[in-house]
Subunit: 339 residues, 2 copies
């Protein structure tokens, strides 16, 4: 059993002791930093109870373990409070609880050997997991202090480029008309002033980040500014990898795939638009002193990363959940550097 949460959507999967998925359910954002502890707990309980019913189980019988991989599941005190509150308010939910981050849940779905996870959905985050289990993070501080390369950040970069061009503060590298029209349409505004409520009074990160889809459409249709913001996102995400590169264990470089990079989140669907910026930053880093870094591969999950959360929750409860890792991932890009 596991619940997974992103900045916009959440997912629960109910897993049998043999590792089979019995049921899956969806729910709204359950990041407690964004929606508060109450909404987070209610959302998780609701998803899990629906999953029990969907699988034909008694909703009043607690599952053995609930492993949650939550974006925002990083701070120990906050996590303990979430678990305590869940135990108290929903005693029929689960016998044991375990919370980890969305990044670690994703990694546990893909491999038990480690790698680098780069999340880019509504927000962004990067986590290196070494073969010995040690972790090194970069980013994941939310839209006020990071989220570089995320859907929020891409949307913001495009809109900021438009604002700055209008103000004559910074010249846009490309024509702004597509972004202007797309912004007016998506946010239903007719001028810059109209954007202010969307930035402040009625600001919703997931809605703001949703504008990224329009930019992806523009990029695919050939708009140069849309392509530019995705190239910048590719660079930003690659910089997160470069940030943790000095801490990567030698063994992670030497597998068949080279350095495995697990790519999680909806922004990766626009990989073709990000590719040039991403590859450029990694090539520069490799050329400047990582001679043992000869190859990297980008992987996506074919299963929900809630599965890894379930595995970790089970392990925490003293059970082991068998997962077929090779069936869970897909390699979508590999690059070997020139010698």
């Amino acid at each position: 059993m596991a619940a997974l949460n992103g900045g916009t959507h959440s997912k629960a999967v109910l897993v049998s002791a043999e590792g089979h998925i019995l049921a899956e359910t969806d729910g709204p954002c359950t990041n407690h930093w964004l929606v508060g502890v109450d909404n987070c707990i209610n959302g998780i309980n609701d998803m899990v109870q629906r999953a029990k019913i969907k699988a034909g189980l008694d909703p009043d019988t607690p599952v053995c373990s609930l492993g949650m991989s939550l974006s925002g599941g990083e701070q120990k005190a906050a996590i303990q409070k979430l678990i305590d509150d869940m135990r108290e308010r929903y005693p029929k939910l689960s016998q044991s609880y375990f919370i980890t981050t969305d990044a670690i849940g994703a990694m546990a779905t893909a491999s038990d050997y480690g790698g680098i996870v780069v999340i880019s959905g509504t927000g962004s985050n990067c986590k290196l997991v070494n073969p010995d289990g040690t972790q090194v993070g970069c980013g994941g501080w939310g839209h006020m202090m990071g989220d570089e390369g995320s859907a929020y950040w891409i949307s913001h970069l495009a809109i900021k480029t438009f604002f700055d061009a209008r103000d004559n503060l910074v010249t846009s590298p490309h024509d702004i008309n597509y972004v202007k029209k797309a912004m007016e349409e998506y946010f239903q505004v007719s001028d810059l002033m109209g954007m202010l409520p969307h930035l402040y009074r009625i600001f919703q990160k997931s809605h703001f980040a949703g504008f990224c889809r329009k930019l992806a459409e523009g990029g695919s249709a050939g708009d140069a500014l849309c392509q530019h913001v995705f190239t910048e996102a590719g660079k930003a995400l690659a910089r997160h990898i470069v940030a943790v590169l000095p801490k990567v264990h030698q063994d992670l470089f030497s597998g068949e795939l080279g350095l495995p990079v697990l790519c999680v989140g909806s922004v990766w669907r626009s990989w073709e638009l990000m590719k040039s910026g991403f590859a450029q930053v990694l090539s520069e880093a490799q050329a400047h002193g990582y001679s043992h870094f000869q190859k990297y591969s980008l992987l996506t999950l074919r299963q929900s990363s809630a599965l890894g959360g379930a595995k970790m929750g089970a392990k925490n409860a003293g059970a082991s959940l068998p997962l077929d890792y090779s069936a869970n991932v897909n390699v979508f890009f590999s690059h070997t550097f020139n010698q």
Copy 2:
């Protein structure tokens, strides 16, 4: 009569028909974008009524005109709603109402000939007023889309530099220890995680921006990173001036002071720390094609910019309020470019 508002504090001045200040009162932030329309209106009414009492006037007798220069007083529909609500809820407040921006109120306090106003307090904003009264703005979009060079922005830049250094995402140009300690002390936190509530759940722009004072202290005491963020702020504020330069009327360059730049807001108290960055950006712009831009002077107000708001409110009500402009301003820096 006038009320003036900044992102953190507000001020009301009660002025006689002859232009004498009868009373002054203070209040909290009245930016309706930040505190909402209700708090904004209540705050203004409270300040003005206290000013009447302080001046020995009957609080039940409306003043002739109320001219308000409000940060966030830009959008026509929102302004009209503010005025309508004030009339309805506080009929004894004033006979007539006028709302302009904080920038225009400041300019009206300093001159009736125009110039460039650069505000840098909690937030930032720039407005060119030409001799014919036409206006061109740059910035003023708040912390989500601008505020470059403001106290918020300076605080954010210092903290972001620390986060990025810790993440190994961007190397800090200088030692981060002073900023680290000052941040831990000011926000009462012991690690980066502790900053998250200050960035999200309990975020208050004015409190966040208040950290800038600690950075100014550090800069004055010789800390290189603090000095760096203020140099960057100087550049950012100068870029706002460069942005409106193409629209400056020739006559504004040719006075004795050269281009007059009215500097408003608490960040200008750290002028010495910003000077090199500010001067550099203007020199570069001048060298790249503004041959008629030979000199500029920076001015501060010796009076509250509520005074200019009062003048404009009176004018709107058909009266004229005599102001001695030369007594209202102070030139604190002049620079003539090399020929």
